[in-house]
């Protein structure tokens, strides 16, 4: 049940300027809005390049996506932040990492035709560059324990192929889309309370169940087991019709068959180039 005493989640937003490429500030807005609607306080500490925040004062850390160019800048800067960040994670701080943020929490990212970028190694994961990008709607089946299975929906746009080692578990299984590498059916990674994903869109507004999971885990980190909620069920419920409709629409988009127009064009191209039909050229 809601406590009478005011509670506050301390959010640390890493690289808000550097990593703000695809509406990522929507994740922060989802977290702060859903705290505010429940009367839960929040503070946001921004830490850009050259600033090492006090990670011991953070319950929830956001690390978003950027392009390869910006990722190199962040990787250079993360050298000074990696130690305290790792300690915070081992101490139970909650982390949401998206795209480049996900890759930077792994051991390395090796883009095609450029020197590799060293990650923090918090996650037992490596990322290899690919010559093509995975771009499209994606749906993922997740089971974070507690309140059962959920689908995570959003948009992915990445050329990196991430492979998990034994020290990390996937965030979920791909229902439709490419996920970590387009091969093993895994999407994202989990380690302690680190939640890493390739989904942007941004990911949290359309997936309020994940937002609430992060908030409740952050409250747990701040206030401990005693008198604090240990599952989403103990957060006050909100009227989520708009969120449910957006989630359902994104799920429909991810699951729709390939566009009619694309199919017609492909068939036409095969006819025009005389390469035969799909079933003979396979």
């Amino acid at each position: 049940m809601e406590q009478a005493a005011p509670r506050t989640v301390r959010i640390c937003h890493l690289y808000p300027k550097l990593f703000s490429v695809a509406g990522d500030r929507g994740n922060l807005r989802a977290l702060t809005s859903r705290c505010a609607w429940r009367g839960i306080g929040y503070s946001v500490d921004e830490a850009d390049v050259g600033v090492v925040p006090d990670f011991t004062e953070a319950d929830l850390i956001l690390l978003h996506g950027g392009q390869d160019t910006e990722m190199r800048v962040a990787a250079r800067d993360l050298g000074t932040k990696a130690g305290p960040l790792r300690e915070a994670i081992e101490g139970g701080a909650v982390v949401l990492a998206v795209c480049a943020g996900y890759q930077l929490l792994g051991k390395y990212y090796a883009p095609v035709g450029a020197p590799p970028i060293t990650g923090t190694g918090v996650l037992d994961a490596i990322t290899e560059g690919g010559s093509t990008r995975f771009i499209g709607h994606i749906a993922v089946a997740c089971d974070l324990g507690g309140d059962g299975q959920h689908s995570l929906v959003g948009f992915e746009n990445h050329s990196g192929r991430t492979y998990l080692g034994s020290g990390a578990t996937p965030l979920g299984r791909v229902i439709t889309g490419s996920g970590n590498n387009g091969e093993d059916g895994n999407e994202g990674a989990r380690y302690r309370d680190v939640y890493a994903t390739y989904l942007h869109g941004p990911v949290l507004p359309k997936n309020p169940w994940l937002t609430d999971h992060l908030i409740s885990r952050a409250l747990l980190h701040r206030y401990g087991q005693l008198g604090a909620p240990d599952s989403v069920a103990s957060l006050a419920s909100l009227a989520d019709q708009t969120e449910s409709e957006a989630h359902a629409a994104a799920l429909r988009l991810a699951c729709r068959p390939a566009g009619k127009w694309r199919a017609v064009m492909a068939a036409g191209k095969q006819l025009a180039t005389g390469k035969g039909t799909a079933w003979t050229s396979r």
């Binding site: 490429v21 190199r72 708009t242 409709e245 629409a249 988009l253």
Partner: protein, 476 residues
């Protein structure tokens, strides 16, 4: 590379194929106009290319017209309209894609429409607005005399991948230009200004040098751009719009190039237009443009630089051409709708959306809004960028709100988190029903603001055209 027709005598079969392609494309265009299905702006090109994939290349290479291609994230359509007006005013006939259909099929449609049955084109200037991602394929086919790049914003990354990758792609296009050609580049955009330093073509830079406009630092996090060469954060002496401004890199010392066309003075005039003083190689000009906002100052400078590169810049004539402009459709276009006023705005990325919001918020009165986005090949699939739009600034002024389009739910979600009350918001994906519902909530003396992506904007306009509120596209 496929063989170029002009390299050798075309065989009778090839000539027949070319003629068939032109005939079929022209027939499709005529049928489209006759049946009133959207002016047939890209279908004629699609049909013609299916019959003869080299049809655009053949028409372009046979033509003696000067050829200019305008690309970039924002300002393409308005810059093209300005350039066309300037050229026409000095007596040059212009063939152009006027309706914003700027993918390969749309560009091919222009050639099909303007060429006669033997593939000859009368126009003195072929002026093409071309989508950034289409440049790679369209430039080798058209072989332009001038490429003009307006700016590169974080526009539709789902289609283009990375910003810097797109800059490299445009650079490759500019580097194919021969020495007699020119690249007209926005010097205030660090990404565009850095393009093609090794190109053999002449480069012309335009930009702003206005001490009392703009700010000291970029306004939004999403606007931050690093030095293209060394990745150091750029220092700005002045930021005019998003990441456009007068910059210098403290890391490697690279800085904004010297401007060939420089805006030195800007004043908003009481009529809602803009007065500007602009230094050009043809002399200093004072111009009045009946379009508001700094982004239109950039478009004006771009058009003057483009006109200079095309040798169609006569200052006095250009002044009168610019003064006579009307806004392009869907650019805060005012439409009389059975005694009501609709203000239609085309919004496609955070920069254009924020610029539009700023102008709407400057207008007095309550804000009735119809917001619509759809996922299509033109509009893209990923609407994450809506979260980089300052919709929080609009919500306190909202009186009524309807959201629409095939991504209505996404738009509704964004507006809920911007502070709009979901109980007072109507989600109506169908465009006609949404337009009627929105208009029903607007009293006769208050305007309805429509903020829509490209496809829903055209759909709304088609509905209004059917109702006799606006003329069809191809009469624009």
């Amino acid at each position: 590379m496929r063989g170029v027709a002009a390299d050798r005598q075309a065989t009778p079969a090839e000539r027949l194929r070319f003629a068939l392609a032109l005939a079929a494309g022209k027939g499709t265009g005529a049928a489209g106009r006759l049946l009133n299905v959207g002016g047939g702006t890209s279908l004629p090109g699609a049909v013609a290319r299916r019959i003869d994939p080299l049809v655009l290349q053949k028409v372009a290479s046979a033509s003696t017209a000067r050829k200019a291609m305008i690309t970039g994230s924002n300002g393409k359509t308005t810059t093209c309209r300005m350039l066309a007006a300037i050229a026409r005013n000095v007596g040059v006939s212009v063939a152009q894609n006027r309706t914003g259909s700027n993918l390969l099929h749309g560009v091919t449609s222009v050639a099909v429409r303007e060429a006669d049955m033997r593939g000859r084109m009368d126009a003195g200037l072929l002026l093409l607005e071309v989508d950034e991602a289409t440049m790679r394929r369209a430039v080798p086919e058209v072989v332009p005399d001038v490429i003009l790049v307006t700016n590169i914003f974080r526009d539709q990354l789902d289609r283009f991948g990375e910003l810097y990758a797109m800059a490299r792609m445009l650079e490759a296009a500019v580097e194919t230009l021969p020495p007699r050609a020119a690249a007209v580049l926005n010097g205030d955009d660090p990404l565009v200004a850095s393009l093609a330093r090794h190109a053999v073509a002449r480069r012309l830079y335009y930009g702003l040098r206005v001490p009392d406009a703009g700010t000291d630092v970029p306004e939004h996090a999403a606007d931050t751009i690093r030095c293209v060469r060394c990745l150091h954060a750029l220092d700005y002496r002045r930021v005019y719009l998003s990441h456009l401004g007068d910059y210098e890199c403290p890391g490697c010392g690279s800085r904004r190039p010297d401007l060939d066309v420089a805006v030195t003075e800007v004043r908003s005039s009481p009529t809602g237009g803009t007065d500007a003083t602009i230094e050009t190689p043809a002399g200093t000009m004072r111009v009045h443009v009946p379009l508001p906002g700094l982004h239109n100052v950039y478009n004006t400078a771009a058009a003057l630089a483009g006109a200079f590169a095309l040798e169609t810049l006569d200052p006095a004539s250009a002044q009168s051409a610019l003064a006579g402009l009307r806004p392009a459709f869907g650019r805060l276009e005012e439409i009389k709708a059975d005694g009501r006023l609709i203000i239609l705005s085309f919004v496609k990325n955070p920069t254009s959306y924020n610029a539009t919001l700023r102008m709407i918020l400057q207008r007095p009165g309550p804000k009735h809004v119809l917001a619509a986005h759809s996922n299509t090949p033109v509009d893209g699939e990923d609407f994450a960028w809506l979260w980089d739009v300052d919709l929080e600034d609009l919500v306190p002024d909202l009186t009524s709100l309807v959201v629409s389009g095939t991504r209505a739910e996404e738009v509704a979600l964004r507006l809920k988190y911007a502070g709009a009350d979901p109980a007072r918001m109507r989600v109506i994906p169908g465009r006609e029903a949404a337009l009627d519902a929105a208009l029903a909530r607007v009293p006769p003396d208050e305007p309805l603001y429509i903020l829509a992506g490209y496809t829903p904007m055209r759909e709304f306009r088609r509905i209004m055209q059917r109702r006799g509120w606006v003329p069809p596209f191809w009469e624009e």
